[in-house]
């Protein structure tokens, strides 16, 4: 759809209306402060629920019918089953068979396993996806094939949208590795164990109707209650909610690429020489191969200096668990676990604490965990000369990734992006990002195999590392170096049609993605 646009505070042209609803253009960081009261779901009455507490129904279809599934509803799911999720596709198979149209899928993230949903986008069962785009779904959207406009939000932005009523969930269908008949549920055990269920918290608290789907029904009470049964309408037992080996990787691995290891080494050296890495440091690093290598190099430095990290924020992996067990880290606060060692740890180690993004990243929270973090290791598909970052599209213009917690994490004290200068001839540093996801003022350091660029706004950081033998360069110098090797790339050609909106953490529109020519 071609729409009238205005320039937002980041200088990007964005529309004032998306999917027929008014939207607010990005105003600047921390500028947008909605007033009034939080959104609230319909008031339930316990008299309407069985006295014996047994809410089990025979099938998901029956549950969807009882929830009043009809055209245009918003259906939410969480992504803790990751690429092993069997529930989301099933919902829309049923909806399609029931002849329901124009649904809005509101997942906390999508994965390649959700590719089959394309046929339900084609046949009109689903109008649009409001959530992370991954692989085939992103490609589908970029080619302008989705009926509605996609809306991409960060993990924290998703909670914000639920809390301020921007998104009203009609039915939350929440896969649960273990649950009881009342709807209490947890993620740490069962054949499809995924660790925690924190991403489902806003969904079960704010949806009008909540269905818990499990393949491991146990006697009451299922404890600890990560999903609280008093929010749940129905419980459905199925054969299988997920494919275990795709939910949790058996083992996360450090990168073997010598170039990535070099970047990881440079990152650890930067953190040490700048003084960012110190006794009592708080940190977050993801599960990517380079991040894991950085965690290992950081561990070595902590050990040699006799220092300890105060806490780490997960996505946890065996490498973070090892830091906890070796006494190099006091606590892990955890929003999701990536491997079996981490699942075991969160189940058994008191200092490995589930900590939902509901609390950590949420714009409408009374405080932000990420702004308390000293070290934040993140990635990007593109960085431009003003340190602006892109994580959703590639330089060829295709939408291929979700935002995840990336935007929320930018609030950390030191945001470090260790990235290769080019990937198979595709340069990472560009004049202007294809899609703006994070303003450059929040990105502090870009570390590549050919040099380190510190944001000129961080004079303190520049001062702290000067003359310490680190290969400091400007982004312009790095970009020129990459182009000398790779050549200057052509720009992707877009049409005017907007296929996706990128929300900032506060719900304003920071940028849009347009249809590829």
């Amino acid at each position: 759809m071609v729409m009238k646009t205005v320039k937002n505070a980041a200088g990007r042209s964005v529309p004032l209306e998306i999917n027929g609803q008014p939207v607010i253009p990005f105003k600047g960081i921390g500028k947008h402060k909605p007033e009034g009261r939080k959104y609230s779901p319909v008031i339930p009455t316990c008299a309407d629920f069985p006295d014996d507490g047994n809410k089990v129904l025979s099938s998901l279809e029956e549950a969807l019918r009882k929830c009043g599934l009809r055209d245009g509803m918003t259906i939410s799911t969480h992504h803790h089953l990751r690429d092993g999720d069997l529930v989301s596709n099933h919902i829309f198979e049923l909806a399609s068979a029931m002849g329901v149209k124009d649904l809005i899928w509101f997942p906390s993230a999508s994965f390649p396993c959700h590719e089959p949903l394309i046929k339900f986008l084609d046949d009109g069962t689903i109008n649009r996806i409001e959530g992370s785009m991954n692989g085939p779904l992103g490609r589908y959207v970029s080619e302008g094939k989705m009926k509605g406009t996609a809306v991409l939000r960060s993990h924290g932005g998703r909670v914000q949208a639920i809390q301020d009523g921007e998104v009203r969930i009609d039915i939350a269908v929440l896969a649960a590795p273990t649950a009881d008949s009342f709807g209490n549920a947890k993620g740490t055990s069962g054949p499809s164990a995924c660790g925690v269920l924190g991403y489902a918290k806003a969904d079960y608290m704010y949806a009008d109707k909540v269905i818990v789907v499990t393949d491991n029904l146990i006697d009451l009470p299922c404890f600890p209650m990560e999903i609280e049964g008093n929010y749940v309408d129905y419980v459905v037992v199925v054969d299988k909610i997920g494919i275990p080996e795709k939910i949790i990787s058996g083992t996360t691995q450090i990168t073997k690429s010598p170039d990535r290891l070099l970047i990881a080494e440079l990152t650890a050296a930067f953190l040490e020489k700048s003084g960012i890495l110190k006794d009592g440091v708080s940190m977050q690093a993801g599960a990517g191969g380079t991040s894991l290598a950085i965690a290992v190099f950081i561990s070595e430095i902590l050990k040699n200096k006799g220092w300890k990290s105060k806490f780490g924020f997960g996505g946890s992996t065996k490498y973070m668990v090892k830091m906890l067990e070796d006494g190099l880290m006091n606590f892990i606060l955890d929003a999701q676990v990536f491997d079996l060692e981490a699942v075991k740890s969160i189940e058994n180690n008191q200092n490995h604490v589930p900590y939902s993004v509901f609390n950590a990243y949420n714009y409408h929270s009374k405080g932000n965990l990420t702004s308390m973090m000293d070290i934040m290791i993140l990635g990007a598909t593109e960085i431009d000369l003003n340190f602006n970052g892109n994580v959703v599209t590639h330089s060829d213009g295709y939408l291929l990734h979700g935002i995840g917690g990336w935007q929320n994490c930018l609030h950390a004290r030191n945001v470090i992006l260790p990235i290769p200068l080019f990937r198979d001839r595709i340069p990472v540093i560009v004049d202007e990002v294809t899609t703006l996801c994070g303003p450059g003022e929040m990105i502090d350091v870009v570390i590549t195999e050919r040099g380190i660029a510190v944001n000129p706004l961080r004079k303190d950081l520049i001062e702290s590392v000067q003359g310490k033998g680190l290969p400091l360069k400007t982004l312009k110098e790095l970009k020129d170096e990459a182009e000398l090797i790779c050549g200057v790339p052509q720009k992707p050609q877009f049409e005017d049609d907007i296929v996706a909106a990128i929300k900032w953490v506060d719900g304003t529109v920071i940028d849009v993605v347009r249809k590829l020519k």
Partner: protein, 404 residues
């Protein structure tokens, strides 16, 4: 015209930064290009333009080109295309990419050669960032790491890599093939500022002389004045028996290496981690090298995953008298570099000796003493070498004398 169709390069799900090019010469219809590339939307126009330019250079007016590209850099595409062209037409012309001025350096006869990183000569993806890992030398290998049917195309790729890849100061080395093919290899590398040529499976001084003669004639033809050093590799019993003659055969030889995989095979024994089976050979090679005044270089360590065993091997290698080792993975480089470097005790002791020598010289004393011990000139020379090494490896400030 030889054949009418040819193919060169690599493609497939695991191939990166490379391309496969198929060329079919035609009688009419101009140039048509089928480009399959993951970077088509970013570099499609420039790839097509480059292909047309190269074909035009070779005077080809009518052809069908199919290129399957996984992000190959221009110098790779050029090498692959030249390779298919040369399978189909006879030409002496070379399509040379620009020579990076950063690579226009020469090296010293006595420079350190602790770590030399081997790179397979037909795998461009491994070459592009190879200079970033601070190896003392980078070896573009035309010999064992290149499949027999890929030998011709590898020459063009190595030639273009020598011109286009920034090696960030690492000594620029090429391992040529054995015998006649090796002599032909030299035409593709010598004009492009190679610092050192490794000669594999050396068994006779004659092997060296032939290589040296060929290098001289190429240098003359191209009017080159840079030094090209030689490093023979001993990989057989016969080679070891002749090693002194080999080491002494040419002034250009700066180091001699042992290749234990082939050597143990020649002896008919297994290569073991503790290496008893090759102890004599290694020691003999060290003595040969010292007698000839060149550097003895140890074999590569092939288990990339076993860093602990590598550490022990380096320690032993250094204690025997070797001055360096080959690396087959960049992660081995820091370990090997650090392993051959002098440790703190050695540096402290050497500092005392060198200071005592300086003091004696200033006082005009003929005899150097440290405490009650007399110090002989060779001890001073060795101490000085340790100091130079330590400074070079950033383990000691160049101004250390002032700091004392």
């Amino acid at each position: 015209m030889k054949n009418s169709a040819a193919i060169s390069g690599n493609s497939g799900p695991k191939v990166r930064s490379d391309c496969e090019i198929a060329l079919e010469l035609r009688y009419d219809g101009g140039i048509s290009i089928d480009l399959i590339s993951k970077v088509k939307s970013l570099y499609g126009d420039s790839i097509v333009g480059l292909i047309k330019e190269v074909l035009d250079f070779f005077g080809i007016k009518h052809a069908f080109v199919k290129i399957t590209d996984s992000g190959a850099l221009p110098f790779v595409i050029e090498a692959r295309l030249e390779s298919v062209v040369k399978q189909l037409i006879s030409t002496q012309q070379e399509y040379l990419p620009p020579f990076l001025k950063e690579n226009n350096y020469s090296t010293e006869r006595h420079r350190f050669r602790f770590s030399r990183l081997y790179l397979p000569g037909n795998t461009p993806g491994l070459m592009i960032n190879s200079g970033l890992h601070s190896a003392d030398g980078i070896i573009l290998d035309l010999e064992d790491s290149v499949a027999p049917e890929k030998k011709d195309e590898a020459r063009l790729l190595v030639r273009n890599a020598l011109r286009q890849i920034n090696f960030y100061g690492a000594e620029r080395m090429v391992r040529i093939n054995q015998g006649k093919r090796g002599l032909e290899d030299l035409h593709f590398v010598i004009p492009h500022n190679v610092n050192l040529v490794l000669i594999p499976k050396c068994e006779d001084a004659e092997d060296i002389l032939q290589v040296e003669k060929m290098i001289e004639s190429i240098k003359m033809k191209f009017n080159l004045t840079n030094d090209v050093y030689l490093m023979p590799i001993i990989e057989s019993a016969l080679g070891l028996e002749n090693s002194f003659k080999i080491a002494y055969s040419s002034r250009s030889i700066v180091a001699i290496a042992i290749g234990l995989e082939d050597f143990t095979a020649d002896l008919g024994v297994q290569r073991t981690v503790d290496g008893k089976e090759s102890l004599y050979a290694r020691q003999r090679l060290i003595i040969t090298a010292r007698a000839a005044g060149i550097q003895p270089i140890d074999s590569v360590f092939s288990d990339v995953a076993d860093m602990e065993a590598l550490k022990l091997t380096v320690k032993e290698s250094k204690s025997l008298g070797f001055e360096g080792m080959g690396c087959i993975h960049p992660r081995q480089i820091p370990l090997i570099r650090d392993g051959f470097a002098p440790d703190t005790t050695e540096i402290e002791k050497s500092k005392k000796i060198v200071l005592a020598f300086e003091e004696a010289k200033q006082k005009g004393l003929g005899v150097v003493a440290l405490g009650s011990k007399m110090i002989d000139p060779p001890v001073v020379a060795r101490a000085q070498r340790v100091i130079d090494l330590a400074v070079c490896l950033n383990r000691l400030s160049p101004d250390w004398v002032k700091d004392e």
